[in-house]
Symmetry: C2
Subunit: 191 residues, 2 copies
Amino acid sequence: MKAQPPGPTHAPWQVLQSREIYAAAPWVRLSLQEVRLPDGRVVRDYHQIALPEYSVVFAETEDGRVLVERQYKHGIGEVTLMLPAGLIEPGEEPCRGAQREMLEETGYTADDWKPLGRFVPNSNYGCGRAHLFHARGARRVAEPNAGDLEEMEILLLTRDELFRAVREGRVHATAVVAAIALATHPVLGAV
Amino acid sequence: MKAQPPGPTHAPWQVLQSREIYAAAPWVRLSLQEVRLPDGRVVRDYHQIALPEYSVVFAETEDGRVLVERQYKHGIGEVTLMLPAGLIEPGEEPCRGAQREMLEETGYTADDWKPLGRFVPNSNYGCGRAHLFHARGARRVAEPNAGDLEEMEILLLTRDELFRAVREGRVHATAVVAAIALATHPVLGAV
């Protein structure tokens, strides 16, 4: 990384005003902000979209199978392969939320948990936070009891079967493909 | 992938009604839908958030440097490492949009383009589509002229420098980390 000539200040934008346009707690809060940029320009209508934070888990069993959920997702509009995932409860640690959701959705638990990072779905508007995890040694300890709106089929895929599904376009959610690629990446996943 | 017992139908949800709550074209459109689930239940207030589609490019020069943009992003709330990215114009092919944005933002062009997939930022609400690309043989042919709100610093990082940035939490956008992990993944990136 070479030294850069003096240039951008990278100062945060200054929020002059924020007006709530719509709120349906805890699902969606849409605001319109008036912001001042570092160069002095003022933008009067910059949107921010607050959505709940959620966790996504790439979980592998002792015999190397990945816990995958096949389900219709309405934001995607078709059947897709997901990983165990769900909203984090207020005050809940993201990893604890991931463990709870995986147990509820699949009946699996695991002892070995590693964070893969915390990411923002939309760099302009926000749209929540995705906390990604890699769990190893997953084992079934209960019946699934997700209570979700979606019908769900639980699959135990090998990494190669899941990689093929990614290449064939059967994995649609950005945070899900990010978790798969990070967890199985020889450098990025080796933290 | 083992055969599954008869279970979920995976039928799409049926949209009974859709009511626009807020629209600021072409940036945001928020709708409230009444949907019928395959089991017959009706949900009266399911949100859908339409945001513009965008492209993200993992671009490498002939000497193996990755084109990275360092900038403050308001949806993240801090300085972050991005890849060339931008909204796709109406009627524009995603790859063409990626090429246009990369040229505008960095002054670089490339001949070798490979799609890494099309992904949905929020599997419940939508929030647009992210089209990810891997470009090779990138070379500078013009001055950058992005016209974006953000000040931007263009870095040419080695893969290892970028991997370190990911591990240190300096890459925040889900689609950006997905593009990095997919493009450099020995199996997923080898399509």
